[in-house]
Symmetry: C2
Subunit: 258 residues, 2 copies
């Protein structure tokens, strides 16, 4: 009887496993695919992420705590990389259609952090943005100069240079303390031969990113540059004035720069 | 022996089901959650959808054919509805923070199609946008006046009205042929008491949505209205001039209005 009881228990387990397998099968019916990431349901976090990426949640200080595992799974599970590469393919396709004039005034503006080079390794420690922004810790990380290239953007950078565009890197990083290490980090990661890198000077410290970046782009336009494209992971890279003929928003669900 | 053979076969089936169940389990490790929707992997379609929603793919004519099942699963599986509701919650939270003046000039602008009322039932027939835009078929659908309310937006509409805002509905629908049926459709779905609905007149037929809607908003601003919020499912609802203090992009992966 003990053996039969054990068999019944096993059979019940197996049935429930089969039931689960059917539920979880690739039909996507019940539960749907979006409710199975990161342990619990990611549905609310998918909504949060889409709203954040489309600039509907502005301004936000941290990733919602309950989205830690979902955002972590997004960043480390491959989809973030897919999403970045897809946007870069769109950019390349647009860039290929542009006829570059011989006057050296066809320009692109690229942001640096989480556009050219990645801070994902840093944000892993900060629970993918669930922990609040920590300026001293971020400065220490940036001082290491160890941000890896975001590969698709590095490829875009090379392609733009080869096509004859002047590439401007524009970043809110502090020029005085982070200028040299940032240039070296970029160089080490293959960002070589750009027209200029423009960091935030002491005089520009109080300004919002939109104001600072608008001012930088205004100067470029005044110098005669045609900004064909503007690429950033933050809406504040892409808003304001002189934003360029087209703007491209790279995904970044980890932090928001106002 | 037949019975034992059958038991072995069953056991093998059960083991493979368990293996599958473990693979598909909520750990989200292998395969990751985003690769299990709509039968095949939805990863490329998630990238496409995010890029479309963030306006990186502009302009696009149809949903990629290979995304039919993924976009269908998104629309019918609940996530689309979650995403809409989440954005509406953001809008409500923003609206609650606004002090409405007594002068009757605090305004909101809402788009109509797939903002107030839904065309999902129509787009189901058009393979969720994988089929190209079909103006006569869409006109026939609109003439039925059977578009259901998008519930969260209907709730927002009511809340805005109760808070003392003047709500303007602005739509690219043709005034002459669709004016009356649209007003009746909206009324039947609870959109009652708005300040004005503004449709596209014959004179405005050639204009892009951005031009048309900018012109409408310009007139509102010239009349003294303060546009606190502007809600639409298309970027062309939210771009141009006089866009409002804040804009909100509702999800719509089914079509793109240039």
């Amino acid at each position: 009887m003990i053996i039969i009881g054990e068999m019944v228990r096993r059979a019940r387990e197996i049935i429930s496993m089969i039931f689960f397998a059917v539920l979880s099968s690739a039909t996507g019916v019940t539960p749907p695919y979006w409710s199975r990431g990161g342990g619990a349901s990611c549905s609310p976090c998918l909504s949060w992420r889409l709203a954040a990426e489309t600039n509907n949640v502005e301004p936000w200080r941290t990733v919602p705590a309950h989205c830690f595992s979902c955002i972590g799974a997004y960043i480390t599970g491959g989809q973030y990389q897919h999403d970045v590469r897809f946007v870069v393919e769109q950019i390349m396709s647009y860039a290929e259609g542009i006829t570059v004039a011989g006057d050296g005034l066809d320009a692109w503006v690229l942001d640096v952090d989480d556009t050219c080079i990645s801070n994902v390794d840093y944000y892993k420690v900060k629970r993918y943005g669930c922990d609040p922004y920590d300026p001293p810790a971020f400065r220490s990380w940036a001082m290491e100069g160890a941000c890896p290239a975001i590969q698709p953007v590095a490829e875009l950078f090379t392609k733009l240079m080869k096509s004859g565009f002047k590439v401007f890197l524009v970043t809110g990083r502090d020029e005085e303390t982070l200028g040299q290490v940032t240039v070296e980090n970029l160089h080490r990661e293959g960002f070589i031969g750009y027209e200029r890198i423009i960091l935030r000077t002491a005089a520009e410290k109080g300004r919002s990113a939109v104001e600072f970046k608008t001012e930088i782009r205004r100067r470029l336009v005044e110098q005669g540059y045609r900004i064909w494209g503007n690429v950033g992971d933050q809406w504040s890279d892409l808003q304001g004035q002189f934003v360029g003929k087209r703007t491209f928003k790279l995904p970044n669900p980890m932090y928001f720069v106002p």
